[in-house]
């Protein structure tokens, strides 16, 4: 291969290639993010417009008081996540995070099964007093109270 290009031209070619690749990366990212836009659901959205069964998504909301039940195998738990408007049953097999309790916020990673139960692979709960999953951050106190009252009626 020859280096017959003038230095200036070579620089332009380099810049052009770099720009093309970076723009491609940006477009790819934008395209991938669009298909990810439905990655996070709150219960009312999940009921109104459910994701395809088996598609990996996140579900966020409040663990409804009184809904938490441990199955006979001792490691599977069933609970209901609500946002004050709607509720979705969740099943999770595993050791729950340290600060996972009824009435607190949770984000579950997993997929919806054909029966409408959310099968969680992973639970993200508060990691300390100050940590709330980002998606739940501005669920208002009023909404939280409503969500709690809903289930304690």
């Amino acid at each position: 291969m020859n280096t017959g290009l003038k230095a200036k031209h070579q620089r332009l070619v380099l810049i052009a290639i770099a720009m093309v690749v970076l723009i491609a990366a940006g477009l790819l990212a934008a395209w991938a993010l669009r298909s990810q836009a439905s990655y996070f659901y709150v219960p009312s959205e999940m009921i109104a417009n459910p994701p395809e069964a088996g598609q990996a998504v996140r579900l966020g909301g409040m663990v409804q008081a009184g809904s938490l039940k441990t199955a006979a195998d001792g490691v599977t738990i069933n609970f209901v996540v609500g946002d004050g408007d709607a509720m979705v049953p969740v099943r999770y097999s595993g050791i729950v995070p340290d600060l996972f309790t009824e009435g607190s916020g949770v984000v579950a990673e997993g997929r919806l099964d054909a029966q409408g139960t959310f099968i969680a692979d992973n639970l993200l709960a508060k990691h300390d007093e100050n940590y709330v999953p980002r998606e739940l951050h501005d669920m208002t106190e009023a909404q939280k109270r409503a969500a709690m009252e809903e289930t304690t009626k």
């Binding site: 291969m1 020859n2 280096t3 290009l5 003038k6 230095a7 200036k8 070579q10 620089r11 380099l14 290639i17 770099a18 690749v21 970076l22 491609a24 990366a25 940006g26 790819l28 990212a29 934008a30 991938a32 993010l33 990810q36 836009a37 990655y39 996070f40 709150v42 990996a56 996140r58 441990t70 195998d73 001792g74 490691v75 097999s93 595993g94 050791i95 729950v96 340290d98 600060l99 984000v107 990673e109 992973n122 993200l124 990691h127 300390d128 007093e129 100050n130 940590y131 709330v132 999953p133 980002r134 998606e135 951050h137």
Partner: protein
């Protein structure tokens, strides 16, 4: 008294930074030899004062002086000493003081030892360093004073978040900070060189050790952080694409690109403007990372010190630094003289591909991390996770690894693929064999499959440059490259093997029961109460044997801290060369059974081993470069002395 002393030292250091900036600017404007002599000493004394201030803060934490607000809020008299000390930086104010300390110490160090740059570029660099430093001094003094008194003094401290009471985590932030702040030095160098239009190979050689140093600390910091999350959070994962993790990955990607482009500039005088640009981008990524972590704009598993006011302050600094650097770049980039030409198939060509691919991955991570912020402005909540990051970044990461395999074999300036044909064919055959072998024997996902094949190919390709060379004469920098590239292969192998072959067992076990996971037989002996300095725990006693071998003990715990009240689970790990057994003890359930989660993770430890090898490679290269520089300097001095004596003798005669 100690608090007042610390605060006074901090104010004095800030004043010196202001002096350093003004004097530097005046020297650059018109020649002021008198002022020029001020800049270096100002930088050195500033570093010493900042260090004294930080030492004062540590002392306050050691004494648990509860009349200082920061100590009262983050420490406790009954905390182990090591965590009292670490508590000094395990919070917002203290970590910002650490940041400023590292920054001004490195400024002082440059002033003391750097002799290669032209004097004016040196002054410009120190002025730029002071400019960046001043913003952080202002941040500390006006919005995050670590020495603020509390009146009346607290009767007892609030304690440190138990998740932070971990020896790995105590040293994790300082390590990352050394990396972040090291990049501020690269930034200052870039700005200094732009100001005086001295973008030369000498400049790249002067900047390179700083980039290398920062990069080593970033590498180790990311590796340690990943291992911490893996064993402390008890979920068995090692990378989460959490915004805070991304905040450390992005500067690392930029620094890696910078390191390679600086090498091209140093060796071949090409990629001048690009290198400068990367210097600005790398530090911008540190700042964006700091902003993401500190602003509370993203709540993350790792974030602390959430305060919108502080977020705005960092955002303002970010805009100021990046904005002015980019403006300067726009004005001056055209006048940075053109570099040397090179052919596409050459070492430079391969490094350009590496740079472009790294930049693309950086763009992908940046977009994915910031995207939720943008949509939130339109009231749409989105979270971006592994389904986005993994495949999209792999699309650029995999071809980059292919070039990594070929690049080191190529010569500078101009080469032909024909010359390295045999090596390339050998590497390709080995990769295809591994691919086929794994494909037929297992049913693993596409990404882990490609990862396994590529890791073997990269490992082979990384040692090929050693072939036919005298190993004892080989420069340390080449050894560094070989180690770092080999580390990439090792880490990639660990990641792929872990995601492809992990076995998991989740049971409710009664003491006495035996659980099998992968090749392990794990006997659940009993559960016992134990007590630590500031916690009590229930400890599961397990004895695990690997395919019928000798039994080894494991003790996962479920801990209760009492100040602040919090429960954590401490996982237990058994490490073998070919993987790790990971155990977590859950809650007691009725019938005297306990939740027990076990993972057999083949080769998982190789992820962090690879990370350490990458860092060690950087360290070898750094030592090699520094030793070379010292040799060159002493040689030059000797020549100069000989010339002087010769001239003296001549004059005498």
């Amino acid at each position: 008294m100690i608090a007042e002393f610390g605060l006074a030292a901090l104010w004095l250091a800030a004043a010196l930074a202001a002096l350093q900036l003004v004097a530097g600017a005046l020297v650059l404007g018109r020649d002021e030899p008198a002022l020029s002599a001020l800049v270096r000493p100002a930088a050195v004394v500033q570093g010493v004062l900042a260090a004294l201030s930080f030492a004062a803060l540590i002392l306050l934490f050691v004494e648990t002086d509860l009349s200082v607000r920061l100590v009262a809020e983050n420490s406790h008299t009954e905390k182990p000493m090591i965590f009292k000390i670490a508590g000094a930086w395990g919070n917002h104010e203290g970590s910002m003081l650490l940041w400023v300390t590292i920054m001004s110490l490195s400024g002082g160090l440059i002033a003391l030892i750097e002799r290669r740059l032209p004097e004016r570029t040196m002054i410009a660099t120190l002025a730029a360093q002071a400019f960046v430093g001043l913003g952080f001094y202002a941040f500390l003094l006006f919005s995050s004073n670590p020495f603020a008194r509390l009146s009346p003094a607290a009767p007892e401290g609030l304690g440190l978040n138990p998740l932070l009471q971990d020896i790995g985590l105590a040293f994790h932030p300082p390590t990352l900070y050394l990396g972040y702040v090291g990049l501020s030095v690269a930034f200052s160098f870039a700005v200094g060189a732009l100001l005086t239009r001295q973008v030369t190979p000498e400049f790249a050689r002067a900047m390179r050790p700083w980039v290398l140093g920062a990069w080593i600390f970033l590498t180790i910091g990311i590796t340690a952080g990943s291992y911490w999350a893996y064993y402390e959070l008890g979920w068995g994962g090692w990378w989460f694409w959490d915004p805070v993790e991304n905040a450390s990955l992005m500067p690392w990607l930029a620094a890696t690109a910078l390191l390679h482009s600086a090498s091209v500039l140093a060796a071949r005088d090409a990629l001048r403007a690009w290198t400068i640009m990367l210097g600005v981008v790398a530090f911008s990524m540190s700042m964006i990372g700091t902003f993401l972590v500190r602003s509370g704009i993203l709540t993350s598993v790792h974030a602390f010190a959430v305060d919108p006011e502080r977020g705005s302050f960092i955002l303002a600094l970010l805009v100021l630094y990046i904005g002015s650097a980019l403006t300067l770049f726009g004005l001056r980039a055209g006048t940075v003289a053109e570099g040397e030409r090179f052919s596409v198939t050459s070492r430079e060509g391969a490094l350009v591909v590496n740079n472009v691919a790294l930049s693309a991955i950086l763009a992908i991570v940046l977009v994915g991390t910031l995207y939720p912020l943008v949509t939130e402005a339109f009231d749409i909540k989105v979270s971006v996770g592994p389904p986005y990051f993994n495949p999209v970044s792999a699309l650029f990461f995999l071809p980059m690894l292919l070039v990594l395999a070929v690049g080191p074999l190529l010569r500078w300036r101009r080469d032909s693929l024909g010359r390295v044909q045999n090596e390339v064919v050998l590497v390709a055959i080995v990769a295809l064999l591994v691919l086929a072998g794994v494909w037929f024997n297992t049913s693993i996902g596409l990404l882990p499959l490609l990862g396994l094949a590529l890791s073997v190919a990269v490992a082979l390709a990384s040692v090929l440059p050693l072939r036919g060379r005298n190993l004892r004469r080989l420069p340390l920098a080449v050894w560094g490259m070989v180690f770092a590239h080999l580390g990439i292969a090792v880490a990639l192998f660990g990641m792929s093997a872990d995601s492809a072959f992990t076995k998991e067992k989740l049971v409710a076990a009664t003491p006495g029961e035996t659980v099998e996971v992968g090749p392990w037989k794990v006997k659940f002996e009993t559960v016992e109460p134990v007590a630590g300095p500031n916690w009590t725990a229930l400890e599961g006693v397990l004895s695990a044997s690997y395919s019928g071998g000798k039994a080894r003990q494991m003790a996962p715990q479920s801990r209760e801290f009492w100040s602040p009240v919090q429960q954590t689970s401490e996982s237990a790990l058994l490490t073998r060369w070919n993987g790790q057994l990971y155990a977590v003890l859950g809650d007691e359930i009725e019938g005297g059974r306990w939740q027990l989660r076990l993972w057999w993770k083949p080769f998982v430890i190789w992820i962090w081993l690879g990370g350490l090898m990458i860092g060690f490679g950087g360290f070898l290269a750094l030592v090699g470069r520094v030793v070379d520089d010292l040799k060159r300097r002493s040689l030059q001095q000797r020549i100069a002395r000989r010339r002087r004596t010769a001239a003296d003798e001549e004059a005498a005669a």
